[in-house]
């Protein structure tokens, strides 16, 4: 009997998990795509054989199990010090905090950017792969549960009761549940329609500083966001909605920011006239 439950739960979880994270990734990529310069867009679309970056928004998750891309498995999370500074690979390796040694998203991003900066040495396949890495990693670096704060204990499960049914979810899954199910019911281009509305001054402010600065600024903000819910919280329909109403404007802003920053990185790499984005 237990097996049956296991099957059913796996079915439910598997069914949901992929769709949720994918939708936000493709939304972020769509915002970025809409903000590429003409030169960058044509260069990138050519490198991706006619597809846009939207098509590859969560490609790194798809290929995680393949031999060629196994090394990207540690490129999803980032470990953060009490002063909101991302932990270097060396320090992360030594850290005793759970998951920190595998939280090398920023390292992965820098590796991919450096590879593309000297792309004359790369094969066409490698150019395409590195673009696709960047798209996936920038999305992950703009998702609060992907941040591991070395001074904060891991979050415990969250329970919630909706439509009379009690559910328990891991904190990160809950955040995605909330974000996707109640905030982002939108599809691909709808993210662009709603969130790609910033003035050049606002974009300049979002993309100011280096990528490491961005991660620090994110960390500072995400600490506050994550603190808006108690570890192990219990929600009912009403309290969930009230909580989500507070999160809604913040998470839309996070997604928009991710889109503009992804565009800034790709423009910097593929359009000589665009502003440079530094990694450090």
């Amino acid at each position: 009997m237990k097996q049956f439950f296991a099957i059913i739960i796996t079915l439910l979880v598997a069914h949901n998990a992929s769709a949720w994270s994918g939708a936000i990734h493709s939304g972020i990529a769509a915002i970025a795509d809409a903000n590429l310069t003409a030169d960058a867009k044509s260069a990138i679309d050519e490198a991706l054989e006619g597809h846009s970056i939207i098509y590859y928004a969560h490609w790194m998750d798809d290929v995680a199990d393949s031999e060629t891309h196994k090394h990207t498995k540690s490129w999803h999370n980032v470990a953060i010090t009490p002063k909101n500074v991302p932990l270097s690979a060396k320090k992360a390796a030594k850290s005793k905090v759970k998951g920190a040694s595998n939280a090398l998203a920023l390292e992965g991003l820098v590796t991919a950017i450096n590879a593309l900066t000297n792309r004359s040495a790369l094969t066409t396949q490698q150019v395409a792969d590195n673009i696709r890495y960047i798209v996936s990693i920038v999305c992950d670096l703009h998702c609060p549960p992907h941040y591991i704060f070395t001074d904060t204990p891991a979050w415990s499960d969250v329970t919630y009761t909706l439509a009379g049914n009690k559910h328990t979810l891991k904190y990160s899954a809950f955040w995605e549940y909330s974000a996707i199910r109640h905030t982002f019911i939108w599809k691909t281009q709808e993210f662009v329609h709603q969130l790609s509305r910033k003035s050049p001054e606002q974009v300049a402010a979002l993309t100011a500083g280096s990528i490491t600065d961005w991660v620090s600024r994110n960390a500072e903000q995400y600490r506050v966001v994550l603190g808006m819910m108690e570890s192990g919280a219990h929600f009912n329909e009403r309290t969930f909605r009230l909580w989500n109403n507070k999160i809604y404007p913040i998470s839309t802003e996070i997604v928009a920011t991710a889109g503009y920053r992804l565009a800034a990185i790709l423009n910097s790499l593929f359009d000589e006239k665009a502003p440079r984005v530094k990694t450090k």
């Binding site: 439509a163 019911i185 939108w186 691909t188 709808e190 509305r197 009403r238 109403n245 839309t252």
Partner: protein, 274 residues
């Protein structure tokens, strides 16, 4: 053992349907998106300025999600009344909508909070009154108004083999039944692709009252098709919404969303177009 099976079924059936607001978020988003497609550039710029640069779509379900947070917001009605003697709108909900519209006509002089609430209310409630499940028939001849017809009873949703409150059927399932994966841009595109000027002129002619009367009369059939079921009726005693009926209701809902969007655009162009 049977219990376990029922339990599993229960989880699976209820999980996706807990959103029980009128039209669901997708329906309201579709209506405001269609409206946006028909705005003059000036009207669009002005209304978005009032929304701090955001889109109308983003705020189209604000009232559903925030209504618990303030007693004034909670008092704004989402269900509309018609007087069965005249077939015309009556009671508080239409007064509230008129009042918000009246305020918006002076939008440049309103304090920001009043402007925003009036807008959120209009963007949402105007969609609601085009939703067939949101019109209740009221008898005003007695001492107290008496609700004669409303969708607060259970029906049997045959294509999905489950019972559901008729009201809820008209919220999300009526749209998602045949188009499970559509977003509001898909809906807007599908409904509003080649609408003729003649159609637009026809459905946007008249006043708010005319539109309401028309919306109410075109949805009267939902009560004659599916009469009220007694409280506590067993599944097999419930009136049945068949597959064919569901398909027809899907088309009816789609038509109502299109009309709502086109009419909303007309009002916004009038108010914000200068």
């Amino acid at each position: 053992m049977k219990k376990i099976v029922l339990f599993i079924l229960g989880i699976l059936l209820t999980a996706p349907s807990h959103e029980c607001f009128a039209w669901g978020r997708n329906g309201h988003a579709t209506i405001t998106y269609i409206a946006e497609r028909h705005l003059t550039p000036q009207a669009k710029a002005n209304i978005e300025k009032c929304l701090d640069g955001g889109s109308m779509v983003y705020y189209s379900s604000w009232l559903d999600y925030h209504r618990d947070e303030h007693k004034v917001w909670k008092r704004l009605r989402h269900t509309f009344d018609i007087d069965i003697a005249t077939g015309k709108p009556a009671g508080r909900p239409i007064k509230q909508l008129r009042s918000s519209l009246k305020k918006l006509h002076n939008y440049q002089e309103l304090p920001d909070s009043t402007l925003k609430l009036s807008l959120y209310h209009f963007l949402h409630a105007f969609g609601d009154f085009h939703c067939p499940g949101h019109i209740q028939h009221v008898d005003y001849t007695g001492e107290k108004p008496k609700i004669v017809k409303y969708t607060d009873y259970d029906v049997y949703y045959a294509p999905r083999k489950k019972r559901i409150q008729y009201h809820k059927l008209w919220d999300t399932p009526v749209l998602s039944h045949n188009h499970t994966d559509w977003g509001y841009m898909d809906w807007g595109h599908a409904l509003d692709s080649g609408v003729s000027q003649e159609y637009i002129d026809r459905v946007t002619a008249g006043t708010l009252e005319d539109w309401f009367t028309e919306a109410a009369s075109s949805t009267v059939r939902i009560y004659s098709d599916i009469p009220r079921s007694p409280k506590g009726a067993k599944d097999e005693e419930l009136p049945v919404v068949t597959l064919n009926l569901m398909n027809e209701y899907g088309d009816l809902a789609a038509e109502q969303m299109l009309k709502a969007g086109l009419r909303m655009a007309k009002l916004i162009n009038e108010i914000f177009g200068e």
